[in-house]
């Protein structure tokens, strides 16, 4: 099982952003996807750091890809999308607009925000040049198993969301701006104050979701800690670790240890809870009754 570090979903200061990718150069992962996924307004703050980070990661022997935006609407965003292919590394398509700009013969990968729910869609993307697909997080195990088999038959590597707050929705509206009674065009970058997203609680103070500008995430940190063997058996070839603040290199190491067999599922879960500062874990999309569920919930805790 390989490990991929997915694109950072949050708005980090440029120095923190650069430090993170310096750390990833020595982290025990095979592949790193970087670039702006959520909001094009954030990009000018760190865009000039991207070529250097790509170079550092390539020199360290990592596979590197750049992500497209998750939702492309503005002319400026279409131009950014058109320029992705010039980065000199593989492009991860997270909005199908990207396909309109990729050369027909260029191999590409597909990110979790593209709707790949079935064999027909996988086959169409494979014919178009997809070599790797990170499946949408909401898929149940039966779908993952069917798609991993189809991927194997077509030479497409199948990746699954392994760790991190789940990307649940993307909108034209910026919720951080709305929270601060601003419009999106005058957001004043309110999301910068929440580098892991802002927790959204129910009226009974139950942690539920997290807002991140135009994106809505789960409050829980999805974790395939208990599902590794099941996913290996299904033919999944990589797990995606989605960046959060804190010691992410240690998060990567813990996952590597789990894959290598030196850390078991319970120990990994405990380690992840500690490293994330007490985030609740979930894996319900894969095997539970609902996405928020956790397969190892103790009695009396929310499932």
């Amino acid at each position: 099982m390989q490990l991929t570090v997915g694109p950072n979903q949050f708005f980090w200061k440029a120095d923190a952003w650069s430090d993170f990718y310096d750390q990833m150069a020595t982290a025990p992962v095979e592949r790193v996807v970087l670039g702006e996924l959520v909001c094009s307004k954030r990009l000018p703050f760190y865009q000039d750091r991207i070529p250097g980070a790509i170079e550092t990661l390539l020199e360290a022997g990592k596979e590197v890809a750049v992500t497209s935006l998750a939702l492309v609407t503005l002319k400026r965003e279409r131009k950014l999308t058109a320029e992705l292919a010039d980065a000199g590394v593989e492009v991860e398509v997270n909005d199908l607009t990207t396909l309109a700009y990729l050369p027909k013969d260029a191999p590409f990968s597909v990110g979790p925000l593209v709707n790949v729910y079935n064999e027909g869609t996988l086959a169409w993307l494979a014919d178009r040049g997809a070599t790797r697909i990170c499946l949408p997080p909401e898929l149940p195990l039966a779908s993952v198993t069917a798609l991993a088999a189809e991927g194997a038959a077509r030479g497409v590597a199948i990746e699954v969301w392994g760790h991190g707050r789940l990307p649940l929705a993307i909108s034209g509206r910026c919720y951080h701006a709305r929270l601060h009674k601003r419009t999106k065009d005058n957001c004043q970058f309110a999301c910068e104050d929440d580098p892991d997203g802002l927790s959204v609680r129910t009226l009974e103070d139950q942690p539920f979701l997290a807002m991140n500008g135009v994106q809505t995430l789960s409050d829980s940190c999805a974790s395939m800690a208990n599902q590794l063997e099941v996913l290996e058996k299904a033919g999944v070839t990589a797990l995606r670790l989605s960046p959060q603040t804190g010691d992410f290199a240690r998060v990567c190491q813990a996952w590597r240890d789990r894959i290598d067999g030196t850390l078991d599922a319970a120990a990994l879960s405990a380690e992840l809870e500690t490293l994330s500062g007490g985030m609740r874990l979930s894996d319900g999309f894969l095997t539970g009754a609902r996405g928020a569920d956790w397969s190892r919930a103790k009695e009396g805790e929310p499932a």
Partner: protein, 327 residues
């Protein structure tokens, strides 16, 4: 030219009511997981579809069939059969969202007109042209993330017809790209054709206040005398930071009747009304009003005023993303 009014029909009776009330076009779905309004008691079996199409055609109206969920891995045949049966029933077009299903329909049913569902959230001209060139899509239902000037800009760059929502329920997230519902309940629009399903709603009397839960998560609480909106997840009341309220969207519905002249000028071909779950009397009234409005627009007469206020069910209405400040 008169803009086309595209009306929902959850049942054969609604279809007939919509056609009689002046709908140019009616859209509906089969009674299974292949469509995004997979609610108990709604939708059409094959015979009803055939009869509905005949009724509409006899009255000069068209029928579109939404097959707009994302086919389940290992079960694509159910969706393939729906496309084949729609063609056999003589429908005027199918409304699809999934890449694989579009490819299948283009290959096996090339004579069946294809529209792109809002569930595919094609939000720029490149996307519209992509679906047209790859799958021969003739019309795209635009996602509710675009302002009117953006819609005009899209139409300036494409030959593909555009259809926009003007009335009814309002998704605040990009359609087809939201799994909030399955996070809370296990059931989603993409996979199951439902959002915030009633099967997972519970109401509790909480010291005189009524609290509504979805999948165990409290979505809102209202006092005994207040109206209790349906607990749709994204329109719930939550807390973040120091704020408590409707953080994503208020419990509003879309009403863009006032924007009809601007949408016409923006080059929009068709106006879509949401609500296959609505009663036939509701559908008939909305259709009559919108038909009158587009006729007035085409004839250069002023728009009828406030024609639909009573149908928003006491809820506030919004023009949504069509006004840029909504974002």
């Amino acid at each position: 030219m008169v803009m086309e009014i595209v009306c929902p029909a959850g049942t054969p009776a609604s279809l007939r009511a919509a056609v009689k009330a002046g709908a140019h076009t009616v859209y509906c779905g089969f009674a299974d997981e292949t469509n995004a309004r997979n609610f108990p008691g709604l939708n059409f079996d094959r015979d009803e579809m055939r009869e509905g199409v005949k009724f509409a055609h006899d009255h000069g109206a068209k029928v579109l069939v939404a097959i707009n969920t994302y086919p389940r891995a290992g079960a694509e045949a159910i969706w393939h059969r729906a496309v084949a049966d729609a063609e056999k029933c003589g429908v005027d077009a199918v409304i699809l969202a999934d890449l694989g299903l579009l490819a299948y329909a283009a290959k096996h049913h090339p004579g069946l007109r294809r529209h792109l569902s809002v569930q595919a959230a094609a939000a720029n001209a490149d996307m519209l042209n992509f679906y047209a060139s790859e799958f021969g899509v003739k019309r795209v239902v635009l996602p509710r993330v675009l302002s009117v000037p953006e819609i005009a800009a899209i139409n300036a760059e494409t030959e593909v017809e555009t259809e926009v929502f003007v009335f009814g329920g309002l998704c605040v997230m990009a359609e087809g790209r939201c799994s909030l519902s399955s996070y809370a309940t296990g059931l989603s629009p993409n996979m199951n054709g439902v959002c915030s399903p009633a099967s997972h709603v519970e109401y509790h009397d909480d010291h005189g206040a009524l609290s509504a839960k979805l999948g165990g998560f409290t979505i809102h609480k209202v006092g005994a005398d207040e109206p209790a909106p349906y607990p749709t997840l994204c329109k719930g009341c939550f807390s973040a930071g120091d704020a408590t309220g409707h953080l994503f969207e208020d419990p509003v519905s879309l009403n863009a009747e006032k924007l009809i002249p601007q949408l016409a000028k923006a080059g929009v071909t068709a106006l879509k009304i949401e609500g296959r779950q609505r009663s036939r009397s509701y559908v008939a009234q909305v259709v009559r009003n919108f038909r009158a409005a587009v006729e007035a627009q085409a004839a250069g007469r002023p728009m009828p005023e406030g024609m639909l206020a009573q149908l928003t069910e006491g809820q506030a209405a919004t023009a949504g993303a069509y006004k840029k400040t909504w974002r």
